[in-house]
Symmetry: C2
Subunit: 180 residues, 2 copies
Amino acid sequence: MRADARRNYERLVVAAREVFAQEGGGASMEAIARRAGVGVGTLYRHFPNRIDLVEAVYRTDVDNLVHTAEQVSADLEPWPAAVAFLEAFVRYAQGKRTFLNELREAFDKNPDLRVDMMDRIRQAMELVVGRAQRAGVMRTDVDGSDLMQLVGPMCTNATLSVDQSKRLLDTILDGLHKEP
Amino acid sequence: MRADARRNYERLVVAAREVFAQEGGGASMEAIARRAGVGVGTLYRHFPNRIDLVEAVYRTDVDNLVHTAEQVSADLEPWPAAVAFLEAFVRYAQGKRTFLNELREAFDKNPDLRVDMMDRIRQAMELVVGRAQRAGVMRTDVDGSDLMQLVGPMCTNATLSVDQSKRLLDTILDGLHKEP
DNA sequence: TGCTAAACGGAAGGACCCTCCGTATAATAA
DNA sequence: TTATTATACGGAGGGTCCTTCCGTTTAGCA
């Protein structure tokens, strides 16, 4: 892959995320190409159709979330790491709302995508949760999958405000926390 | 409303339901107008935009479901009536899947639609459920809302087969049934 | 039967997805 | 450094779709 091709690929994914966030999942391919500073031809060479672009944006969202899990595990104490990761997870899940319909199409077209991404997230969740549990600062009768099922759908709900999600996450965190 | 206008309105709703079922929620307005035997101009006079047509189709689906509740309550014994209604409810909920994305848009645009329709369905459900419970043929520790929450999301799930839904409904019915 | 408000049909405007191909450029070798 | 070429770029344009507009038709009524 040539240097300019790689640069444009990355620009396009960044631009797509921004435009989706700003204009919703129905944003036009022209708008995304314009924001990335390339022509639509370039966009379509990298992403043969709209749904492939959605998939790429989603994959990098998951990459970032997994990376956050590794980062907080390395940098922070077990409990603060868990808090930071769950906050990142809420942001991730809420971010999906801007292009939720398109994401559903992507899942329909390629069912493995859903399975693979859920699995990666579950592993990231368990990295953080397991560490907190072994350190004795988190109750041990829930696991990563449970937390995904609890927090994920809550955030995907279109009628949930940012404030609400903060308060609900605080409540959940209080319920999870345990003095060592 | 002139006679031809009313006739075309009804034809359009019927045609839309058929075309959505056949081609999915993304079906074109031209295809729907053609199926109804009218021009697109006529379609747009009755339904100023796509989402209004989706809403109309959905409203008649709910009308039919409510009507079924009244019908079975009048015609059948309490338990057979409950079985018949729950089967109709499953068909209704599965029917939504063909234009689920569009329906979500309609709910976003007009939140009252969701609330109103849920309420009508809940009432219909409770008409049938309450009667069966008073007749002593249905356990009394669940109500109409519970059954909606139990059965509805199950049917909306895209990965559920018709066979599965039949078996699951049978299971639920067995759990609900009580000898008088 | 004649009148008119209401309804009809479909051409056309505008937006969008995607393709195609002539042009430009990064990478490489002389 | 320069020439070569595979690779990538840009954007006009084809095709489809939603929606608007307006000339034509018709139902309902006096």
